[in-house]
Symmetry: C2
């Protein structure tokens, strides 16, 4: 058994317990760990560290770098105030709280950028990398588990490495991964991926065995994903997108097998992919950062030919199915480093269709993906920018309202911009779908309000836009009101100004001419 | 003479006057023209069209697509209200006015994106392309003049083509250009540029001669650039950047020949490049979208080994020098399609250093490049986003104040976001240089205010930031005040709230701890 898991004979003597290994972590260190969307994250050593700190009361603070979100390890470390700095992504409520209190310095990064920033030297040295693995090869190569993330660059650049061999992971993970790191400049070459299914690297992460200071055997399991099942609204949004795909195919703007699909984590993206099981598209391809349950439903329905990502994030039952079928899926799936799954070069070459979730969108198409009320971090930008900027077709989805209608997701002015108007093609709510491609801002506002706003807010958005037009400009706004909806929500618990607005401005519901010259009967701001 | 300029014998019979050619332009057409930063723009036919409209009073509106800004043609067309829709960039005051009045629908695009959007079909068909050329080859290939821009994709996709042979351009332009268009998907391959000097295409734009319906002989000249000479402030900003380069080289984060440089149009960028003439870096390379005078000063000082761009934008005297020396420069210069000069794939592979100008930057590092007061378009995002997102090092420059101090370029909250905090590494004003790499928002705010703000505004920014901290959040803000500086400027002509603020909050000048927990003596917002 151990012979299969640690094939480099010299390394077998380096097995230590998690409790022993955690002692290598010292105050002030930069620790880089495997893990992406709570998958394949190194769990044993850092959790043992937290336990030590809890028991001894030691003061110890580290910089913690990862691929993307970790599971409960982020929470456990945060409870012991061990994390001083965190990047590039997180999604745990406890850590989020510390970030928003300013207790943890969080650097929210495009997920394809972290490797480059490490190479540039501006994120400092990595003292220790802790990598969850299925096995170690004869030469010291590390075979990852359910995610690749940033592990290859971490292993390459770390001074020392601890490997957590997870005995609960099927050995059949081997051969699923494709590890490729761009060379340092000026010797960098094109990334030779021209098809989703191209394998360009090695099945393991090359590692000098001398760097591996310890091997921990673990049996932790990944935190299972718990996707909220599609409700009527998310179902409707998925239908809009599927109808739009059919429309684009009919007009010759998309081929019959669409284009490689990227979908962010979330119930709408999952519902879109599930909907494809019964849609008239065949031989679909997935080029994304994370595979949710729906990707495997598509495999089961025979609709998808190949899928590439950097990790799985699956429910408990789907994990069992996939783990039991890895030797079958291995021919149809690749897990890549996030630098490659999200690389602008590849995303643009393949012409990906990107579907990601917005927190709020303004009437001109600017998207806030991260900051509640412009100030409080939710999770992070993740890979949404890598895909949105470079995709052939960029779609953002959001329900038109939140908190029983007290919040509108379509607002005059977003409180934080993660994706600017230049990077947003299509926006979808349960009210409809807005095609912004090629439109100027005033045209976009018209479409956004008409198609996407909830009836609770449509009149108020029109009221804002029509009055903003009187101020003129390429992107008309009333600066003193632009953020007033969010302020009103903070003060009153409801973004709405007038409940009976339709009566007040009933005659102005028709959107004014775009010219800004034929606006009648609209008074200046109150 | 004409034999040299029109080598395809069958095409010589298609010579027409500009007055004849303009009649092919019909109401409602989409016209695509050569031209990038007022260089190599097709001038004859559209100016003849404007003259006809002026003389006849005909009503005629067109969609006008280009590479980037045109010279006076944009103004002349706009005066006759001929432009209904314009993309992807402009910089003429008259057109800007019409855009801000909503009379022209302007779609401001990343300059590398237009070709892709044309391929996707969402910008409609191109009825007519009008391309300025040095010559037409034996097979109908079009040899551009002082810019390439979007001409290759326009020629490929247009139903019909008019060529304006500019007899004033030196025939030695031939061999300077490198025309390469990515193939349509799914057959797209990597762009095989691994060095700035790689030639990957043809010297001419391939064109089916049957598509060329007319050839106009012209003698128009490009609008010369008039870069504002460096003043004390821009000089100082250039020095900060050069010192920073030396610092990075000393710390091993940049090689001795730096990295391929991109610099946007503007006097600071020009001053930085000029400053390199006397800096201790050799064998420099330029990978940019436009070459200003300073690039040729660098050639003259022997500092630069190779330069690649999509156009020249030169002063009158430098134009004369370059035109007279083209056969020498041809070995050291390439002009490429803007899709390639600005391509994320190549920019990231080469690890470009990008220097671009901001209108304003907020304390967290978000950049507004386009919208005055958040509403009024200045020029457009241009290529700044193509470079900023993908460069190895992204620098934005702006003077700390404008209008004699009545405007601060460092503000609590930018009124429009073109480049988010995720894409900005270094910000420079005449006050100093802020290195934001790897910092969390609260840390960035501290550095931005300390290093970059003008003394007129430093206290007010601290006053805002320190009070915002009491509201908490990853990116603390006071929403009802966030845009108040711009509103105050609109109302009073000055962003400053307190002229004697130092007295009021003197003891609070020290920046509060990042934790947001140790702020003393600061009252709630007024």
């Amino acid at each position: 058994m151990l012979e299969q898991r640690i094939r480099h004979t010299g390394l077998r003597s380096r097995i230590v317990s998690a409790e022993e290994a955690q002692q290598w972590v010292k105050d002030g260190m930069t620790i880089a760990v495997s893990g992406f969307t709570k998958s394949g994250d190194a769990k044993a050593v850092l959790q043992a560290l937290a336990k030590r700190v809890e028991q001894t009361g030691d003061k110890l603070r580290i910089n913690l770098y990862s691929g993307a979100s970790l599971g409960e390890t982020d929470t456990i470390l945060c409870e012991q105030q061990i994390i001083a700095r965190r990047l590039p992504y997180q999604s745990e409520p406890r850590l989020r709280k510390s970030i928003n209190l300013g207790e943890v310095q969080y650097t929210d990064q495009h997920l394809s950028h972290t490797a480059e920033l490490l190479r540039s030297g501006c994120l400092g040295d990595i003292d220790l990398a802790i990598i969850e693995a299925t096995a170690i090869t004869e030469t010291g190569g590390i075979i990852p588990t359910s995610s690749v993330g940033n592990s290859p660059i971490f292993v390459e650049r770390a001074k020392r490495v601890i490997v957590e061999i997870n005995l609960n992971t099927p050995i059949e993970f081997e051969g699923l991964h494709d590890i490729y790191l761009p060379k340092d400049r000026p010797n960098r070459l094109p990334i030779p991926i021209t098809k989703v299914s191209d394998r360009i690297g090695t099945p393991d992460i090359p590692c000098n065995p001398d760097k591996i200071i310890g091997i921990v055997l673990s049996r932790h399991t990944d935190t299972p994903s718990n996707i909220v099942p599609a409700d009527r609204d998310t179902q409707r949004m998925a239908e809009y997108i599927l109808d739009f795909f059919e429309h684009e195919v009919r007009h010759g703007r998309l081929p019959h097998n669409l284009a490689p699909l990227q979908s962010g984590v979330g119930s709408v993206s999952n519902a879109v992919l599930s909907g494809l099981c019964n849609a008239p598209f065949e031989n679909l391809e997935i080029y994304t950062e994370v595979m949710q349950d729906a990707v495997f439903e598509l495999f089961q329905s025979g609709k998808v030919a190949f899928a590439s990502a950097s990790s799985f994030t699956l429910s408990k039952s789907m994990t069992e199915h996939v783990n039991a079928s890895l030797s079958k899926y291995r021919e149809k799936i690749i897990l890549r480093p996030q630098e490659i799954s999200n690389h602008p070069e590849v995303v643009r070459r393949l012409g990906v269709i990107a579907i990601n979730t917005a927190l709020e969108v303004d009437i001109y198409g600017n998207v806030n993906s991260t900051h509640v009320s412009g100030t409080h971090m939710m999770n992070g930008i993740g890979g949404s920018g890598d895909f949105a900027r470079n995709a052939a077709l960029t779609i953002f989805v959001t329900k038109s309202i939140a908190k029983d209608g007290r919040i509108s997701s379509i607002v005059p002015f977003v409180t934080h911009v993660d994706h600017s108007e230049h990077d947003v093609d299509i926006v979808v709510t349960e009210q409809g779908i807005a095609d912004l491609r090629g439109l100027a801002p005033r045209e976009r506002a018209t479409v956004m309000i008409e198609k996407l706003a909830h009836p609770f807010y449509k009149d108020e958005l029109l009221y804002y836009f029509n009055r903003a037009l009187t101020y003129g400009g390429h992107t008309p706004h009333i600066l003193e009101e632009a953020l007033s909806w969010h302020k009103r929500f903070a003060d009153t618990g409801d973004m709405r100004q007038f409940r009976g607005l339709a009566d007040v401005v009933g005659r102005d519901r028709r959107i004014s001419s775009h010219t800004g010259r034929s606006i009648k009967g609209i008074s200046r701001p109150l």
